[in-house]
């Protein structure tokens, strides 16, 4: 399975590395540039990226100027910036960016948005192999060691979210929202029940970990 490649152009070293660190854990390949001009020079040689995350205020060449260059290689762009004024947002989105995220941001949110954009542009692989499982998103099937395990629709969706963001803990509330599309805080029992089902049906007792206060995490 091919890993998705992410281009990160962000002048703040700490933030760039934090994004890269999280993406790597979830099986992405990352390339970081701290300078707009360096990214500009490099992209003509190597434009094999599935998505780009750009800061706006960059040394050398700013994000708005970099956008058309990157877009010309059919790479979708997400702006990630401290500039939260409407004019900048409009400039970014009208210029062809897929999304515009204002700092400070939630890492999980960034990852979900990356995932959505990759799905829309058909760059997301339709199967995920994790542990002894093969998850097929087209067929909505899960095979354990080649044998299909029957899951209810919501159980499958829950597994999909956990697998896409593997090694990252997701809170019950977040899962409820991402899988069921609900925001009821009191309903988190549902999540626990479904997690229990997944653990039992797929033998994931060891791998779906309960992280105290942080939620559930599927580890490989």
């Amino acid at each position: 399975m091919l890993k998705n490649k992410v281009l990160i152009v962000e002048d703040d070293e700490a933030i760039a590395n934090m994004i890269a660190m999280n993406l790597r854990v979830a099986d992405y390949d990352t390339t970081i540039f701290y300078d707009g001009m360096a990214a500009f020079k490099d992209i003509s040689n190597n434009h094999n990226y599935d998505i780009a995350i750009l800061d706006v205020m960059l040394p050398g060449l700013d994000g708005f100027s970099l956008l058309p260059v990157i877009s010309s290689y059919n790479i979708p762009v997400i702006f990630l910036t401290a500039k939260d004024d409407l004019a900048s947002k409009l400039q970014g989105l009208k210029g062809g960016a897929e999304d515009y995220i204002v700092k400070p941001f939630e890492m999980l949110e960034l990852m979900v948005r990356i995932e959505k954009i990759l799905a829309r542009t058909n760059k997301l692989s339709n199967t995920i192999n994790i542990l002894d499982l093969e998850i097929n998103f087209d067929e909505h099937t899960v095979r354990k060691n080649g044998t299909e395990v029957v899951l209810k629709p919501m159980e499958f969706e829950l597994l999909a979210v956990l697998a896409r963001n593997k090694n990252i803990a997701i809170s019950r509330e977040k899962l409820l929202n991402m899988v069921w599309g609900m925001d009821f805080v009191g309903e988190t029992r549902t999540v626990d029940v479904h997690i229990g089902q997944l653990r039992k049906k797929l033998g994931l007792n060891e791998h779906i970990k309960t992280i105290s206060k942080m939620g559930y995490r599927l580890e490989d």
Binding site: A82, I168, R217
Partner: protein, 480 residues
Amino acid sequence: MSILRLFPKWATDWRIKAMKLKSKIQIVTGLTVFAITLVCNIVVMYFVAQNSIEEAQKKSFQEAVSCFFNIETEINNVGERNNDIVMKYIFKTVADDYLLCHTSMQEYGEDDFIYNNTVLELTDLKDKKYTYQEYNGLNGIQLVKLDYGNKNYYMYKTVFEPDYYVYKLVDVTYVGDRLRLIGIVLIILTVAITFLSQIIITAILKKVLKPLDELNKTVKNLTLGEYEQRIEVAGNDEIGELGNNFNIMADAIWERTKSLEESERKKTLLIGDLTHELKTPLTSISGYSKTLLTVKLSEEDKEKALSYIYSESCRLERLSKKMLSLVLLDEEKEIDLVETEAKELFLRVEESCHKLLEQKEIELVTVVKNEKFFVDVDLMTEVLINLIDNAVKASSPKNKIILSASDNTIKVQDFGIGIPKEEQDKILEPFYMVDKSRSRKNGGAGLGLAITAMILEKHNCTLTIDSEEGEGTVMNLQFV
């Protein structure tokens, strides 16, 4: 307000509503002029009256005396006294309508009149209080005032031997008439003077109070926020001076307001910038902690995340320290200036900058003789370190930085990238960075020059920047 409360409500209302300065002056001057004119006229009237009456008395007395002498002469010519017929004859020849004569006072009766052309009767003559006049001729002359109809008379009385009582009436009505006329004229004059004075006062007040009215209007407009409005000053009297001073005050207020607005604007900007500057390290810190908490990381990544959290916290700490020193400097009104050798100052700076310079292998050249400056040593060292720090950031490795002192001036010169012309004014503002990311990577928060500017302000020292892009920068500290 409290003073006005002492008066009943209607009184204060009346005072406020009715008593404008103009009306006050009008009423006071009107009453004063009227009173003074009236008193003057009464005094004039008194003396005129006295004089007229005296004159009339004298004149009438002389008339009476000459009349009596005529009769005396006639009697002497005839040479016969004590004969009623002769007396009647004599009176007829004298033929004075205002002359009366009767015989014995004891025998009252119509027939007793020797001569009478008047309507007076004997009863009108008796029981009067006659006063003796100072006169030594004849048999003495007595006087009584007599009013008849609307006429006034002086009646003089004398006695001819043996018992002829002769009365002479002199009409003095003209005196009263004249006095009445003068009185009327004086009253008219009083009213006229009062009226005229009012017209003049009103005209003067109008001219004098017009600038006050305008002043009032302008003050009202000023209160409503039209700080640019000024008074047109006419003349250099007290009101002109007031207008002038008012304009000066308005200027001062305007300037003060502007500078307050400006400092308020700067503060708002500072807070905005601060928030912005805090956002980046905070994003990293919260992001990394969340990552540590939720993500299954390798040991290596865990360490990396922790070291980022630490370094970003240090960045926050530096930022807060610099912010604090900005605030403290702002609050501190005066600083102690001590005469200090430039050599000593430079030595301290060199010591502090040693590590900084070593990193980029930059040489710091100091040019100093025996110059002395009045400075707060700690703060000025801070300034120079800041400037050298900036110079180091702008310089390429192995460049030179020159720190020199001459009369009243300290210079920090580098041969680095320089500052673009349009940026030179702004670099003294907090958080301003010519090249944002480069400065950040060098650990700056953009507060250094703002603190420098503030310290220099406390020293009454001006900072000027000579810079060419690509050639380098000279920072001049000009002491007063």
